[in-house]
Amino acid sequence: MMRKDQSGVITLEACISVLMFLLLMLLLSGLFLMFMAQTVTAHVVLETTESMSLEAYSLEKLAVDEGTIGGVGDQLGKLVSSWFGNSEKSPNFVSAKKWYDGDDKEIAAAIKERFVGYLSGGDEAKADKLLTMMNVVNGLDGLDFSQSYVEDDTLHVFLAYKLKYNFNMGPLKDVPVEQTACSKLWK
C-alpha cells in the first residue's frame, strides 16, 4: 500500500513524463506531416513540369490564333481540343495561349494554375485547405513560383514555401522548403 507521503507521485510523474512523450509524439507527427507535404508538392511539381513541357507541343500545333478563320489544320486542332479538353473547359490543365512566350510573372501564374490542377483538380479552395492541413504557411498563397523561368526552351519550375510545425508552442521556426524541376519544352 502506498504510503501517505507518496500519494500523487504517480499522477505527478505521469503529468510530466506522459506530457513529454506526448510532445515527442506530436513533434514526430508534425515531421511526418511535413514529409507528406513535401512529397505531395514534389509529386505535383514534377507532374506540373511534365505536363507543361508537353503542352507546348499542342500549343504549337493546335492553337488557333484569335481573329483568324484558320485552315483545315486549325479546324482540326479545334476539333481535337474539343474532344480532349480545351482551356475553357479545363483551364487548369489546358492553356489558352503560349504561356512560355510571356514574362516570368506570367510563367509563374501558369505554373501555379497547373499546380492547383494537379493538386486538387483545379479547386483553389480545396487546394488551400489541403495545403493548410499539411501545415503549409499561408496555404495556397504561401506557395511561391516566382523564381520559375523558361530559358533555352526549357522550363525551370522553382517552388518555395514554408512549413510550420504542428502544435508549435514556442521556439520552433517555420521550415523553408524549396523544390525544383525542369523539362525541355516540346516545341
Binding site: 507521485v9 514529409f35 514534389a42 483545315v72 524541376a181
Partner: protein
C-alpha cells in the same frame, strides 16, 4: 524514519516505491512502439522517395526526348532524338534538377541513358509513320478529292476487260490459214516450174521421137523399094545409091528406140508431176474453200455479236441520254443518281469495247479471207482438176503405148507416127508459175492497199521516236548516290540498297512486240506475201506474249486492289511527302510536303543536266540502260528531286528511277487505255481498213496511246483515269499537240518542234490535212462519232498515279526500306549543308530512351548519419 533501518530493509535502494514507474513504463513500452512506427514511416518515405524518383526520371526522360531532331520532325513528321547532344549528359542535367523536388531525401549516385528503337528499324519507322499519317493521310486524300473507294471500283471495272490475247487469236488463226495457203502456193509454184520444164522437154522429146521413128520408117520404105526394084530388073543387080544399107537401118532403129525411151521417160515424169500438181491443187483448193467456209460461218457468228453489240449500244445511248438530262438539270458529278448512271455507263462501255473488238476482228479477218479467196478463184478460174486428171490418164496410156512400141514390127509400109497418136495435149493441165506469182503479188498488194504499212510505219516511228525525246526523264535530276561513301561512313544505307525491277519482263515483251512490228514494216515493201504473213504471225505471237504478260499484271493489280486498305496510310505518306520530277521543272525544286515543310532549290542538291543526258534508240535500249544504270554508284549524298520515283524502283541512279517509273506508269496506262482505245470508233476504223493487219494495228494503238498519256503525265499534265478521247486518231492529234507542247516548258524550241513533227508523222500529214488523210485510211468511210461522258472523269496527276501504283505494287517492306534510305540521304545532306557538328545517321535516330539511376534514399532520423542505408537501382523507359 530511521534511514539505516530502511537501508537494511530495502536491498534495491534505487527502487523507491512507485516513483518513476510511469516513466519506466513509457520508456519500455513506447520504445518498441515508436521503433515500429518509425520503421513504418521510414518505409513509407522510402517508397515515396522511390516513386518520386521514378517520376523525376520520367520528367528527365521526357525532357531529353523533347530534344528531338527538328529536321526529321519538320520534314518527315517523325519523332526521334536529336543527334547533336549526348543523351547521357542531357538526361543527367535534367535529372539533377528534377531530383531537387525531392529535397534531401535521395542522393543520386550515378545515371546512365541510352537510345533504343532507331528509325532505321522498319517496324519502328512503320509505327511512327502510321502515327503521323493516321490523321493526315485521310485529310490529304480528302483535300485532293481522292475518293479511294470510287477509284478502286473504277479501277476494277476497267481491268475487267476480257483476255486481249484471246482477241488476238482470231487474227492469228486467219493468218495461220493464210500462211498455209501461201506456203502451198510457193510449193505449187516450184512444181509448176518443173512441169513447165517437163512440158518443154516433152515437146522436144516428142519431136525427136517422131523424127527418129519416121526417119526409120522412111529408111525401111526405101529399103523395101530398093529390094523390089532389084527383083524386077536384073539377074546381077547393081547396088542402088538410094537404098539404105543394113548398118544404117540398125543405127536408125537404135536412134528411134533411144528417142522413144527418152520421150517415154519424159511422158512418165510429166504425168507424175501433173498428178502431184493435181493432188496439191486439190488440197490447196480444199484449204482455200474451207477457209472461205469458215469465214462464212464466222460471218454468221458475227451476226450474233453484232446483235448483242447493237443492244448494248442502245443501252449505252439510253444511259447517255439520261446522263445528258441530269446534266442539263444542273446535277453535279457527285450527284448520287448521276454517279449511278456513270457506273452503268462504265460497265456498258467495257462490254461494248469487248464486243466491238470481237466484231471488228472477225469482220476484218473475214474481209481478208474473202478477198484472198476471191483472188484465188479469179487467178485460177481456167484450171480444172478433172481435165488434169484426164490428161494424166492419157499420158499414162501414152507411156504404155510407147513401152509397147515395137520397132521390129516397123516396115516400109508402116504409117508414120503423128502427134495425134503419140502426143497428149496438156494445155490447161496446170497453173503456170507466173499465174501463181500474180496471185501472190496481188495478195501482197492487197496487204499494202489497206494502209497497213503506212499506218504501222508512222505509229512505229512515233513510238520509237518518243524514246529519243527529251521528255522521258527530267535531265536535271541526274544524281547517283555515293554508295561507297555511305558504306564507309555508316556501313551502308539503313534500308536495302538494291533496285527491284519486277516489271522488266513485261517491258521486254513490249519491246519485242514493237521490234517485230519494225521488222514487219521493213519487210512489207520488199518481202513476199508469205514472208509478210510470217512476219505478221511473229507480230501476233509477240503481241500474244505481251498481252498475256499484261493480263497477268492486271490480274495481280486486281488482286492487289483487295489489300490496299492496309496500305493507305503509309502509302499516302510516301506519295505526298516526297518530291518527284514534276516538282522540279528544269531541276528547280518547289514542293510542300505532307508535313507542311517547304522544299526549295537549296533543300536538295542541284546538278548540271548535260553531263548525264542521253537518249535511247528504242524501248529495248532504254530497258537495258535502266538496268545498266540501276546499281551504279556516284558521288551524290542525296537525290536532286526524284525521290518519289526511288520508291518504285529503288535504284541509286535518279535517271534509272525516273525511267522505270515512266515505264511502270506507262504499263498502268496500257491497262487503263485498253477499253477507250478498243471502243473508239476512229481507231476501229483505222485498224479495220488493214485487213489481216487489224489485230496488229489495234495492239499497236493500245500501246502507243498510253505512251502519249504517260508523256503528258510525267511532264505535269493531268490525265483522266477513264479516258473519253483517244489522242492518236486524226481528230485527236491536234488536241494532243495543243496539250503536250505547252508542257515542255523547260525544253528547247528544237525539242518541241521535233515532238510536233513526230506527232504529225503518225498521220504523215499536216493538221489541216487530217480529214483527207483519214479518208485515205478508211477508204472514205464515215466514222461514227465517239460519245464520251461529257467531261473527263477522275483527272489525276503524276503524283496521284504513282500513289495508286505504290498502293498496288510496292510492298510495305520495300516502301519502308526505301523511305529509310531517303530519310538518311536527305537528312544527312541537310545537316551536312548546315555544317552540323555531327553526321546524321538514321541508326542513331532513337525513338525510345532507356535510363538507369543508382540512388540512395536517406533515412529520416539518422540524418544523423552521413550515408543512407538504402541504395537502389531504378530504370525508366520513355519513348515517342
Amino acid at each position: 524514519m530511521n534511514p539505516k533501518r530502511r537501508k537494511k530493509k530495502k536491498p534495491y535502494k534505487a527502487v523507491n516505491g512507485v516513483k518513476g514507474a510511469i516513466t519506466l513504463f513509457l520508456a519500455i513500452l513506447m520504445t518498441p512502439f515508436l521503433t515500429i512506427a518509425m520503421s513504418l514511416v521510414e518505409a513509407g518515405r522510402y517508397n515515396s522517395a522511390v516513386s518520386l524518383m521514378d517520376e523525376a526520371m520520367g520528367v528527365a526522360a521526357v525532357s531529353t526526348l523533347a530534344d528531338k531532331d527538328d529536321y526529321v520532325k519538320d520534314r518527315w513528321g517523325l519523332f526521334s532524338l536529336g543527334q547533336e547532344h549526348d543523351l547521357g549528359t542531357t538526361f543527367t542535367r535534367s535529372l539533377e534538377e528534377n531530383a531537387g523536388a525531392l529535397g534531401k531525401s535521395v542522393t543520386v549516385n550515378s545515371t546512365k541513358a541510352q537510345g533504343l528503337y532507331p528509325l532505321s528499324d522498319g517496324e519502328v519507322l512503320y509505327n511512327q509513320i502510321m502515327e503521323f499519317s493516321k490523321m493526315s493521310a485521310p485529310l490529304k486524300l480528302a483535300e485532293n478529292f481522292l475518293d479511294l473507294a470510287d477509284l478502286v471500283k473504277k479501277f476494277e471495272k476497267l481491268l475487267s476487260i476480257g483476255n486481249i490475247a484471246e482477241l488476238l487469236n482470231a487474227g492469228a488463226d486467219a493468218v495461220d490459214s493464210m500462211i498455209t495457203i501461201a506456203e502451198t502456193a510457193e510449193e505449187m509454184k516450184d512444181l509448176a516450174d518443173k512441169i513447165a520444164k517437163n512440158e518443154e522437154e516433152y515437146n522436144t522429146k516428142y519431136a525427136a521421137f517422131e523424127k527418129a521413128t519416121n526417119d526409120l520408117i522412111d529408111a525401111l520404105k526405101q529399103e523395101k523399094e530398093s529390094s523390089e526394084n532389084d527383083n524386077n530388073t536384073t539377074e546381077s543387080p547393081a547396088p542402088t545409091e538410094t537404098a539404105a544399107p543394113a548398118t544404117d537401118l540398125d543405127k536408125l532403129k537404135k536412134e528411134a528406140k533411144k528417142a522413144r525411151d527418152e520421150y517415154k521417160d519424159i511422158v512418165g515424169e510429166l504425168s507424175g508431176n501433173l498428178d502431184s500438181f493435181k493432188t496439191q491443187m486439190e488440197d490447196w483448193q480444199e484449204a482455200v474453200e474451207s477457209l472461205a467456209d469458215d469465214a462464212l460461218q464466222a460471218v454468221s457468228s458475227t451476226y450474233a455479236i453484232r446483235s448483242t453489240l447493237g443492244s448494248k449500244k442502245d443501252q449505252l445511248d439510253k444511259v447517255d441520254k439520261e446522263i445528258d438530262k441530269l446534266k442539263k438539270e444542273g446535277r453535279k458529278e457527285d450527284d448520287p443518281d448521276l454517279k449511278k448512271l456513270m457506273g452503268q455507263r462504265e460497265d456498258l462501255e467495257v462490254e461494248v469495247a469487248e464486243l466491238q473488238v470481237k466484231e471488228a476482228a472477225a469482220d476484218s479477218s473475214n474481209d481478208g479471207v474473202q478477198g484472198m479467196t476471191e483472188n484465188w478463184r479469179t487467178s485460177f478460174k481456167n484450171y480444172n482438176n478433172e481435165n488434169t486428171g484426164e490428161i494424166v490418164r492419157q499420158l499414162n496410156r501414152l507411156k504404155e503405148k510407147l513401152v509397147n512400141f515395137n520397132f521390129d514390127t516397123l516396115t516400109g509400109d508402116s504409117t508414120k507416127i503423128t502427134q495425134q497418136d503419140y502426143k497428149v495435149n496438156i494445155t490447161g493441165s496446170y497453173v503456170k508459175s507466173s499465174d501463181i506469182d500474180a496471185f501472190l503479188d496481188a495478195q501482197k498488194e492487197e496487204m499494202n492497199k489497206g494502209s497497213l504499212k503506212d499506218l504501222l510505219t508512222f505509229i512505229n516511228s512515233f513510238f520509237n521516236s518518243v524514246f529519243k525525246t527529251a521528255l522521258l526523264y527530267e535531265p536535271a535530276l541526274c544524281a547517283v548516290l555515293d554508295a561507297d561513301f555511305y558504306n564507309q561512313k555508316f556501313g551502308g544505307l539503313p534500308g536495302q540498297d538494291m533496285s527491284q525491277g519486277g516489271l522488266s519482263y513485261i517491258f521486254r515483251t513490249i519491246g519485242d512486240f514493237i521490234g517485230s512490228i519494225s521488222s514487219f514494216v521493213d519487210n512489207l515493201k520488199s518481202g513476199k506475201w508469205l514472208d509478210n504473213l510470217k512476219k505478221i504471225k511473229e507480230v501476233i505471237q509477240n503481241g500474244q506474249k505481251m498481252f498475256e504478260a499484261i493480263q497477268n499484271f492486271l490480274t495481280g493489280l486486281v488482286e492487289s486492289v483487295k489489300t490496299i486498305g492496309q496500305k493507305i496510310c503509309y502509302t499516302t505518306y510516301s506519295a505526298f511527302n516526297l518530291p518527284c520530277r514534276t516538282d522540279c521543272p528544269g531541276g528547280a525544286l518547289s514542293f510542300k510536303t505532307l508535313t507542311g515543310y517547304s522544299m526549295d532549290g537549296v533543300t536538295l542538291p542541284r546538278m548540271a543536266p548535260s553531263s548525264n543526258y542521253s537518249l535511247f534508240d528504242d524501248l529495248a535500249v532504254m530497258i537495258d540502260s535502266i538496268f545498266n544504270m540501276a546499281n551504279n554508284t556516284g558521288n551524290s549524298y542525296a537525290f536532286c528531286g526524284a525521290e518519289l520515283e526511288y520508291m518504285l524502283f529503288g535504284s541509286r541512279s535518279e535517271i534509272a528511277n525516273q525511267l522505270y517509273t515512266f515505264l511502270t506508269l506507262y504499263l498502268v496506262r496500257v491497262a487503263l487505255d485498253l477499253v477507250p482505245v478498243l471502243s473508239n470508233a476512229e481507231t476501229q476504223a483505222m485498224a479495220g481498213c488493214t485487213g489481216p493487219g487489224y489485230p496488229v494495228v489495234m495492239a499497236v494503238l493500245c500501246l502507243v496511246e498510253p505512251l502519249v498519256d504517260t508523256l503528258m503525265l510525267v511532264n505535269g499534265a493531268k490525265v483522266s483515269l477513264i479516258k473519253t478521247k483517244v489522242f492518236l486518231t486524226p481528230s485527236g492529234i491536234p488536241s494532243l499537240i495543243e496539250k503536250l507542247l505547252p508542257l515542255m516548258k523547260a525544253r528547247t524550241e528544237a525539242d518541241k518542234q521535233k515532238m510536233k513533227d513526230d506527232l504529225l508523222g503518225v498521220m504523215n500529214t499536216k493538221s489541216s490535212e487530217f480529214d483527207t488523210k483519214l479518208k485515205e485510211y478508211t477508204h472514205g468511210a464515215t466514222l461514227p462519232e465517239h460519245k464520251g461522258y461529257g467531261w473527263d472523269l477522275l483527272e489525276l496527276e503524276y503524283r496521284e498515279y504513282i500513289f495508286l501504283i505504290m498502293l498496288l505494287l510496292t510492298s510495305k517492306e520495300e516502301q519502308l526500306q526505301r523511305l529509310a534510305n531517303l530519310i538518311q540521304t536527305e537528312t544527312f545532306y541537310h545537316y551536312n549543308r548546315e555544317h552540323a557538328t555531327f553526321d546524321f545517321d538514321l541508326r542513331k535516330s532513337y525513338t525510345f530512351l532507356s535510363s538507369e539511376v543508382n540512388l540512395t534514399v536517406n533515412q529520416m532520423l539518422p540524418a544523423l548519419l552521413d550515408s543512407g542505408f538504402f541504395t537502389i537501382q531504378r530504370q525508366c523507359y520513355r519513348g515517342y
